[in-house]
């Protein structure tokens, strides 16, 4: 599950070591925007050591590297891949070639560290109009790509507008990218909601992107985590329905039957898959069970 992925500034030991205690689904250790130009070296060393020896609970641990147009990104990849990050979030992806370059660099780092090839996933941040336009090709450029994420501030600026509370400027992009993500078979993760004290605004936005089909949101403050988890939590009725569908599907499978019926309605494979995922979101099944 990737309902919430919490950004942690890469040069801040306090956040790096405590971020998982807020129980987001994932962590994004940031080597890019939250680290000033003069501190990139020091942050990279700190992040490497924290990845190597830190505790992260049940969180998926990823790192946002510096853009592939900078001198830092290759060192970032080497540091985070060799020390156990399970994913690399790359900013400002505009073309499939960027993903292929990154794939190659990650492959090299995996080989050097003795990590099975393909283990480390790629999360693509699409922060320009060009990147959004190329989204499908980007998402399909490597089997490592596991999620696409629309940009926030950078994308708004590239669209020659600014971010509003209503999110008007990102609405079309969000709608487009969910279709792209599903077509490409990757997750769609939403951008951050930057107004950290506006709980109602966050709830509204999380409800909107959940309804579109997004798998979750990036988060910049721990207080945002429970609000988003609450939005993504299934209702009692949804859980009850899901449970009956999954039980009926299991019973039919055990009896060697192809067709499943619940309350007199025939249930097909996508409904069973969705029911399993509902149980995952409710904490009643594991991710692997939902895919089984």
């Amino acid at each position: 599950m990737r309902r919430t992925m919490l950004y942690l500034p890469g040069n801040n030991p306090n956040m790096l070591l405590r971020g998982h205690l807020f129980e987001p689904d994932g962590l994004v250790i940031d080597l890019e925007d939250s680290v000033s130009a003069g501190e990139k070296d020091s942050a990279r060393i700190l992040v490497r050591e924290v990845l190597r020896r830190g505790e992260f609970g049940a969180c998926e641990v990823t790192a946002r590297i510096n853009g592939t147009d900078t001198e830092h990104w290759r060192k970032d990849v080497q540091a985070v891949v060799s020390c156990g990050a399970s994913g690399v979030r790359v900013p400002k992806v505009e073309s499939p070639q960027t993903v292929r370059d990154l794939d190659e660099e990650i492959s090299g780092a995996e080989a050097q560290a003795g990590i099975p090839q393909g283990s480390v996933k790629i999360f693509c941040l699409l922060e320009t109009a060009f990147g959004v336009w190329n989204a499908y090709d980007i998402a399909k450029a490597s089997p490592r790509v596991t999620a696409i994420i629309p940009g926030g501030e950078d994308l708004a600026a590239d669209l020659r507008t600014s971010r509003s509370r209503e999110g008007t400027e990102l609405e079309w992009v969000r709608r487009m990218l969910i279709v792209v993500a599903r077509a490409a078979g990757v997750d769609a993760l939403d951008t951050v909601f930057p107004h950290v004290s506006d709980d109602d605004g966050l709830r509204r936005e999380a409800n909107f992107v959940k309804q579109l089909g997004y798998d979750g949101k990036s988060v910049v403050h721990p207080n945002q985590i429970p609000i988003i988890h609450e939005v993504y939590a299934p209702t009692e009725r949804e859980i009850d329905n899901a449970r009956r569908i999954v039980e009926a599907a299991s019973a039919a499978q055990a009896r060697g039957l192809g067709a499943v019926s619940v309350d007199g309605r025939m249930i097909d494979a996508p409904v069973i898959r969705r029911a399993r995922f509902t149980l995952v979101r409710a904490g009643l099944a594991s991710d692997s069970e939902s895919k089984g």
Partner: protein
């Protein structure tokens, strides 16, 4: 004989759970000075960690003074800050 040029490099901050490491030189030998709340209690362990990190650079660096202003840095953080400060000191930042 001309005295060698003094050099200094820093890494870290004085924020909570961090430490500020300052390396200066040349001095005679390897001098370690630790200040902060935990200095008295964990001095030996901190010195050991600092020495381990410096020795990891090879050639057992000497002629430096390592000053640590600690604000609750864990072992991981202390090591990272010492490594970054020494890499900067010898001009190998980002190794």
């Amino acid at each position: 004989m001309e005295p060698a040029d003094l050099k200094a490099a820093q890494a870290g901050t004085l924020e909570s759970m961090d430490c500020l490491v300052t390396i200066t030189g040349p001095v005679e030998g390897r001098v370690i000075e630790i200040s902060g709340n935990a200095a008295a209690r964990f001095k030996t362990a901190m010195e050991r960690r600092i020495n381990d990190v410096l020795d990891g650079f090879g050639n057992s660096p000497t002629d430096i003074k390592v000053g640590v202003q600690d604000n609750g840095a864990l072992d991981i953080v202390l090591g990272a800050r010492v490594e970054a400060a020494y890499a900067r000191y010898i001009g190998r930042a980002g190794r």
